[in-house]
């Protein structure tokens, strides 16, 4: 029997990379591998992707029409039905996992460890608090299932190369009818790479002045095959959609290269980029706090620097 159950995140067709990052967090907890559960209306393609990851002991599928969209109130009781066989239940600390996992934990009568950033022992984990201004080592007592979310930026995805078996689980629990999925509206990010998996991310500020001006950042991003992110200020101003917000209350990312154009470096923003390989800051204010954590800083006007970079790269 495996000890770790990981709840797969997917969009109905493709497995999200956050699952491979959870597997990497699970490795020290059980060297023999983790089980991954896929709940969907059509599981096969997603399950095959999960089975191909290393560190997977078994893929469990729960195929039901009700699982077409990840509605926490519907998914949670199904997870609980499976969870009694496990010592750990893990999900990524993305909006999917943040919404679902506490509901699972409460149904099981246990607390939850949010945002595991490192595994320090079988029952000891480090997690960030106060927007990452402090790190706490928490211990979960013996005798209770550990339900946790994994801070995905802290773990590299496991490699491919697995050949796990796929088994279908038949779960007969009553599902509530009180919650209905209506629609998902995605902002148009063109063919740009995904913010959470991109190797290079460029971020901009409302100082770009308008939605149109963000265009110069998009052009540079396309030249560099980069994803585009933003500070809260830019999202609040309505220049870019909410899913582009990086930070304490947005996405936590860990690209190899992060370039901030005209971002002051508020602590709520910095906590979202601290795990980046190299941080570059371009700001016209030499005193901006972003320079305190930047590996490479350039004091200058982004309206000069962005076009010049685009010309030269």
């Amino acid at each position: 029997m495996s000890k770790v159950l990981i709840i797969a995140e997917h969009d109905g067709t493709n497995l999200n990379q956050s699952t491979a990052r959870c597997l990497s967090c699970a490795q020290p907890l059980d060297a023999s591998g983790a089980d991954v559960v896929v709940l969907a209306s059509q599981c096969t393609a997603i399950a095959e992707q999960a089975a191909g990851l290393s560190g997977v002991a078994r893929v469990i599928t729960v195929e039901r029409a009700e699982n077409e969209h990840a509605v926490a109130a519907i998914i949670a009781p199904q997870i609980v039905a499976l969870a009694s066989d496990y010592d750990y239940v893990l999900a990524p600390s993305t909006t999917f996992g943040k919404d679902l996992t506490p509901r699972v934990a409460a149904l099981m009568g246990v607390g939850q460890v949010s945002d595991i950033m490192s595994v320090e022992g079988p029952r000891q984990f480090k997690r960030p608090i106060y927007a990452g201004n402090a790190v706490v080592l928490v211990e979960v007592p013996e005798g209770q299932t550990i339900v946790a979310t994994v801070r995905v930026a802290s773990f590299r995805p496991v490699a491919a190369g697995g050949q796990a078996t796929i088994t279908a689980a038949d779960i007969s629990v009553d599902l509530p009818a009180h919650t209905r999925f209506v629609e998902l509206k995605s902002g148009d990010s063109g063919d740009r790479p995904d913010l959470q998996t991109a190797k290079v991310v460029l971020s901009g500020w409302r100082g770009l002045g308008s939605e149109e001006n963000f265009g110069i950042l998009y052009q540079l991003a396309d030249r560099m095959n980069a994803a585009v992110g933003a500070s809260r200020a830019a999202v609040d101003a309505g220049y870019v959609p909410n899913e582009m917000q990086v930070g304490q209350t947005g996405k936590i990312i860990a690209p190899d290269l992060y370039m901030a154009f005209g971002i002051s470096g508020a602590i709520q923003h910095l906590t979202g980029i601290k795990d980046a390989g190299t941080i570059v800051a371009i700001n016209k204010d030499g005193e901006a706090p972003i320079f305190e954590i930047a590996d490479i800083g350039l004091v200058g006007d982004l309206f000069d620097v962005i076009p010049e970079l685009e010309k030269r790269l």
């Binding site: 926490a72 109130a73 909006t95 999917f96 943040k98 919404d99 996992t101 506490p102 509901r103 934990a105 409460a106 607390g111 939850q112 949010s114 960030p128 608090i129 106060y130 927007a131 201004n133 402090a134 790190v135 706490v136 080592l137 928490v138 211990e139 979960v140 007592p141 509530p176 009180h178 919650t179 209905r180 209506v182 629609e183 998902l184 509206k185 995605s186 290079v200 095959n225 999202v235 609040d236 959609p241 909410n242 899913e243 304490q248 209350t249 601290k274 390989g277 190299t278 941080i279 320079f291 930047a294 590996d295 490479i296 800083g297 350039l298 200058g300 620097v305 010049e308 030269r312 790269l313």
Partner: protein, 250 residues
């Protein structure tokens, strides 16, 4: 007509520079500015707007913690809440315990909507609303950026990683707020005076008859790892050279 219960957690103000205590037992909170958790301020603002639209009749603010939380509740009353409840305790309250306490108050008050923040900016747990919805066996609509109430249901637009998701839930339900839901109003001086006369009920947490002791142990606290000091370059040429040097330009 609908009754709305709003959670107001007292937290270290978001502008305070947090320092970890030298003995690692926690962070310094003595003498620092305390405020309503920003997401809870948004929750209260939304409750007030729902009431002002005529979709609710009463807004009740609730806080769990020490008697100092009365300050935040008074601010909530000045913003426009009709009455406040303090569940007084000196214990560290984990989200599951907070959810258990809120459930007890729900039993008594029978609200149609419970509005909480998506996360408290001190523990950054992002759990309480979801846990409460589970214990209450009711719907949850987390990370809301738009709420529309009609005929016993709420249509909620949620800020998710893939964009904006809309769900429709039966009431009663738990809704948690995201940043874009609204901009909270400022409190005016006359309202602060008026708020002094509004009812604030204090209930000792022990009287609720539930176990609220923490499950987890905080073994130690530390400051986050610092990044090494970087370099400042003079122009775009030097920037490109530095990036090439690190092999970051593909």
């Amino acid at each position: 007509m609908d009754k709305i219960l709003v959670g107001l957690k007292r937290v270290v103000d978001y502008n305070v520079r947090i320092r970890v205590k030298s003995d690692g037992s926690g962070v310094v909170t003595d003498g620092v500015k305390m405020s309503i958790n920003p997401f809870d301020e948004i929750a209260l603002e939304e409750a007030l707007r729902i009431k002002e639209r005529g979709d609710a009749s009463e807004v009740i603010a609730i806080s769990i913690g020490s008697s100092d939380c009365q300050q935040q509740l008074r601010t909530g009353l000045a913003m426009g809440a009709d009455r406040a409840i303090l569940i007084e305790t000196s214990q560290e309250i984990e989200p599951l315990a907070a959810a258990g306490i809120l459930l007890k108050i729900i039993d008594k008050e029978q609200p149609d909507i419970v509005l909480l923040g998506k996360q408290a900016i001190d523990d950054d747990n992002n759990q309480t609303g979801q846990m409460l919805a589970a214990l209450w066996e009711r719907p949850q609509a987390t990370f809301a950026s738009k709420i529309e109430i009609s005929e016993g249901t709420a249509s909620v637009t949620r800020e998710v990683d893939a964009g904006l998701e809309v769900i429709n839930v039966d009431l009663p339900a738990v809704i948690t707020t995201d940043l874009r839901l609204n901009e909270p109003r400022y409190v005016k001086l006359p309202d602060i005076m008026k708020a002094k006369k509004k009812p604030l009920e204090v209930i000792n947490a022990d009287e609720l008859g539930i176990d609220i002791s923490p499950q987890f142990t905080a073994v130690s606290h530390e400051a986050p790892a610092e990044r090494e000091k970087g370099i400042i370059v003079d122009d775009v040429d030097a920037l490109i050279a530095a990036l090439k040097d690190k092999d970051l330009l593909g």
